[in-house]
Point group: D2
Chain length 378, copies 4
């Protein structure tokens, strides 16, 4: 019988969007099994989730530290799906008990916390993934490989948006509404809301797909009288000298959680929209634009093989996370078996990407506060 990893989950009760996503994604992964959890700080929600997922009551925990201690040596990894401000402490305790970690983004609220996790993971030689799930879709992987082999030449301009409208109602509220506090009150969310929560996805995605590093950036942030940023405009300079522009907003009426990615090079261009994740527009100088469908004709990079279904069968959001887990699980299995993970196994965002994201949103906040002056990133 094939080896099956055991995992626990922290946070993410039945009502929590992202916790459920992790369970669904791993539900499609026969090589991993949910065996324990601390799904909510509210006991009832914790128990409810455990029962729905058939977790043995003896392995349902009401305290993260207790769970880490009790499960040391018994689980192969933990999935951390808590509110952002809990990521650091939760991830840290599992690392300290020698347990591999999959953590939601943004990694932490502060750069110090992020670097601390990075340091511990390295010291303990543990696998630490951060769920920047959008790079888990097949088509960004196709883009990455096409760009890497030179299909669009040298990159000369990047434009990317993360657009949604979830906080538009906030603008007409006179008081902060409780349920949103962990996102928009600095006490819980740290220095940034929109840029930390959505913008880091874009920061990672562009870096993943293009290989470009941000050298410096400048930004404006709009709070509309609330405590944290809800609409950010950013201009970036990459390490190759090219410029890009990002727009992150959570107050855009009618916008269905769009990520729009447009990348232009000296020889071609690629355009991808997260709401149609299976399509990719590919232009080459002197040729007609091509519509690349996942699993369709005209894709000749290895990432094409990562598709799970024939074209015309939409893969969807859960699979973006499932793909991150596919590599993560493969890597842990290989390490357990004493084998060396392949490049494909290692194709998931790591704690280093998490650190990069935390630095990114801090730079955005710093520039916005400093009348949009350039802020260097290391």
């Amino acid at each position: 019988m094939a080896e099956r990893l055991k995992y626990g989950q922290v946070g993410g009760d039945l009502k929590a969007l992202i916790g459920e996503c992790h369970r669904k994604a791993l539900g499609m992964e026969p090589r991993a099994e949910l065996v324990c959890g601390c799904f909510s700080a509210i006991d009832e929600l914790n128990d409810e989730c455990a029962e729905a997922y058939h977790v043995d009551p003896s392995r349902v925990y009401y305290d993260t530290e207790e769970m880490a201690k009790a499960e040391e040596g018994k689980i192969d990894f933990v999935a951390i799906c808590t509110p952002n401000f809990v990521h650091y402490s939760a991830a840290k305790v599992f690392l300290e008990h020698g347990i591999n970690v999959m953590c939601e983004k943004p990694l932490t609220l502060t750069i110090e916390e992020a670097e601390d996790l990075q340091r511990i993971a390295k010291e303990k030689d543990l696998v630490f993934a951060v769920d920047y799930c959008y790079s888990g879709y097949v088509m960004p992987k196709v883009m990455k490989q096409m760009i890497a082999r030179g299909d669009i030449g040298d990159i000369i301009s990047v434009n990317a948006d993360y657009m949604e409208g979830c906080f538009l109602p906030l603008l007409s509220e006179t008081e902060q509404v409780n349920s949103r506090i962990w996102r928009t009150d600095p006490k819980y969310s740290g220095v940034s809301n929109t840029c930390a929560d959505d913008g880091t996805h874009v920061e990672h995605l562009v870096n993943y797909v293009t290989g470009l590093k941000v050298k410096r950036l400048l930004a404006t942030s709009d709070t509309f009288g609330k405590k944290l940023d809800l609409n950010d405009n950013i201009i970036l300079e990459y390490d190759n000298g090219a410029h890009g522009a990002y727009w992150f907003s959570q107050v855009l009426c009618g916008s269905p959680n769009e990520i729009n990615l447009r990348i232009y090079g000296t020889k071609g261009a690629l355009e991808w929209h997260q709401t149609k994740p299976d399509e990719l527009l590919f232009s080459q100088a002197g040729k007609a634009t091509q519509v690349l469908y996942r699993s369709g004709d005209g894709i000749d990079v290895p990432a094409a093989g990562l598709a799970r279904m024939p074209l015309g069968h939409p893969e969807g959001y859960y699979l973006s996370i499932a793909n991150v887990y596919r590599s993560f699980v493969s890597t842990i299995l290989k390490r357990k078996a004493g084998e060396t993970p392949t490049e494909e196994d290692l194709d998931f965002p790591t704690v280093d990407d998490g650190v990069s994201g935390v630095k990114f949103f801090h730079a955005v906040v710093e520039s916005a506060k400093n009348d949009s002056k350039w802020v260097e990133l290391d």
Copy 2:
């Protein structure tokens, strides 16, 4: 601990598209657990699949009848994912051992076989679902409820396509290629290829969404020198007197497995495209066309509540099947608990829909053979 259904699978080894889809769909369903199977007629593939999914070797079978017998009383349902010509015998034996059935479409090769399964399921009072998965997407359910309450008035015209290109290479082959035999050789596939395999999806979907029954139809079928239909054009008359047109084809270059559904009424219209399953265009007389996004604003029918994620998070194909299973599993659980399933629990395609599909493709074949004369459906 919540009740968890046990199920087995027949057919659908690791390489089989649809068998894997069922496992992924049920992987997202914590209320059901795969415990046994006969995944392939080829022993190696059978074992490989069983091991990957951690099925106990003692419950891996090499014969369907043996499995049905051994698992009688032990499993709650079986998922039949074999080639089409095996559906009948496999479904029959499980029914006879008192086991509920989820069967792939088309239900059977002949009307007699289909009606036989219908009869047995009724006699035995078993739950029998047919996986017309496209009606499992949320937006067709939204359409159904909008139409039922009169949002578009009386239906006056229907237009629907199922377009793909998988068999285009066949046109330039001089000999039948082996791997496709079960789809295109009448010995294995029965009287129809394209209409049976793809067309029945559309027949079901239109019926599901509109409530209309086909009164009569006429058709042309193109075989392009091969043994079975590869391109079908059909005109239909529904029981309310309206006409519709369907086009099913598997030789369309570049087509990414599209289902396009356009339904027009006296007061409005609805348009849906399977490759963008989360969107729906809704027109009302005298008003601008609305773009309804799954989980987005402007949807006020109960089916909106069936969405699993916020808008902008594409749900994808696996979830269409998972949604069929959600209702199917709920129904079985309620029956086991002595409760009455709700309308929502019963919202999955049944053996009656399966029979209807088999009659449909037989009518198409009959008309096409008879110089496109009208053929009545009962």
Copy 3:
């Protein structure tokens, strides 16, 4: 100074959609000048239009026959933009006075009338164009040339729609409304409404683009209790044995006057939508679908040269008519100069195409009346 053709117009006062379109199209044609007209049967509307377009009052006519007689030898062509039932008598009288004709479609109400015009035009050796304007767009010309040189191989399936909603309000009226009488009362519109008015555009367009002739067809027509067809479904067999399906409707809520054209061959496919006339989807077996933009890269047929603007500058509906006129005017100028018109000059729909359209809608009506039996076309 370059030769400038003089022309007159019959029908098409300032309020008339199509008459205005002709004047705008010819306004963009410096080689032709409006010098006379009989713009309306209502004197006031006639005078109003003449004044707006600076037509000399001495050349404004209140009777078509009088105009033809007076302008014989003075104008090079006449543009006939009257209601359909006047086309025949108006065209005939100008032909008889030796004047070239541009006539709106459908050419006439009956086959006899159409063939009479065809005969006279031939006898008098006059240029007779019919304004099937959609084939005037650049992209259908590109399609025609791509198909002619074999880019998509042999055609195996055609699907085309003409969809609009202008008559949907009619369905809820108890009495026929006056203003629409000439379209929907057989006394004025002949045997067909929707198929004659919209369907003939599609019949011409498919023939123009593919070169295929309709061998036979069968149809249903829906009148919804009114006097003429408002929704037609048609299956066709072409002279190469392939089948196609057309759908013409004027009762489709929300539809913005769409013509959708999808043509599939053994080696490729082309898809065009009239509401986005500058785009064309081109698929080839084994390659990604290409988006061809008018004036964009990747179009290497001569028709590309017919574009008037760089890509991204939408050419629009007036230019489709202006393009028909461009060839028509070139042909007349060449003939006047004793030169032989080129193939490009002759690239406009003729009286032969007009006759073909009239036969087409008669065949549709005949099949629909005869329980959808096949009707042969010669």
Copy 4:
């Protein structure tokens, strides 16, 4: 007989894109007639154009000043379609001879020149229009009126692009190519290429549609080793405190001259794409997004009446210019008749808008040169 304005044209021979556009646009305007011109600095091209458009040889000029002098009192307006660096001198001389002016954009190369024209036009009380044609399309006018009456509330974020690829080949050239010199060599084009030529369209369009004024902006400009900007990223602060981002580029592979305009308010949003000028996406808080088609249902502002054709008949680029002329001509006619032009008559971009554009691109250049510091606009 209705009054008909006489006009002359400067620049814009038969090969020149924009000069031809003006003639086509005015070809659709029966209230104006081309009577004289100086179409090119190259005599042959000048004569060729004059002949094609039947301009009397006695009114064909080989010098702008000579033309202005000779035509004083004989023409009602002049259309200036020369390369940008000639706009100033040409416009000035016609103004000085008391002739109304329609001038291409950008108005001039320097702010001083622009303000000089503004001053003279005011002193002479002449009508001076600038052809920012994109605000001539119907849908931006619809947007303007919807926003003005509060349909989307207070504007909180703006995002706009002007994307094309015409200069991408320049990046791989080692020497400046002659034919492009007047666009990319500062000697002829002034301080800016892309921002002056394309960006000013966006600057005007956003201002026109929203009523917002730019308070300050910061920018990066990329020259890629050439002499002028080819790719500009800009962040703006408007007078209401909101921020926006613009992206102008002429080196984007595959981009078909897109202008994408996305405007978000506290109560709704509007999205428009120039390549599909007849469509507009309209979102309102709590409702589904609506697709507004020009001439379609759901548009209830007066600008809807400016459409020339029913929906589904694409209006295209020439009509955007024709619409600018429609108002411009109406205004001149009213003034000649001693009447007061209406608001609709005056709905065309003026010399004030032209001045604003020149200031805008100077601010962009200044910021880009000054390490992206904020630059205030008055």
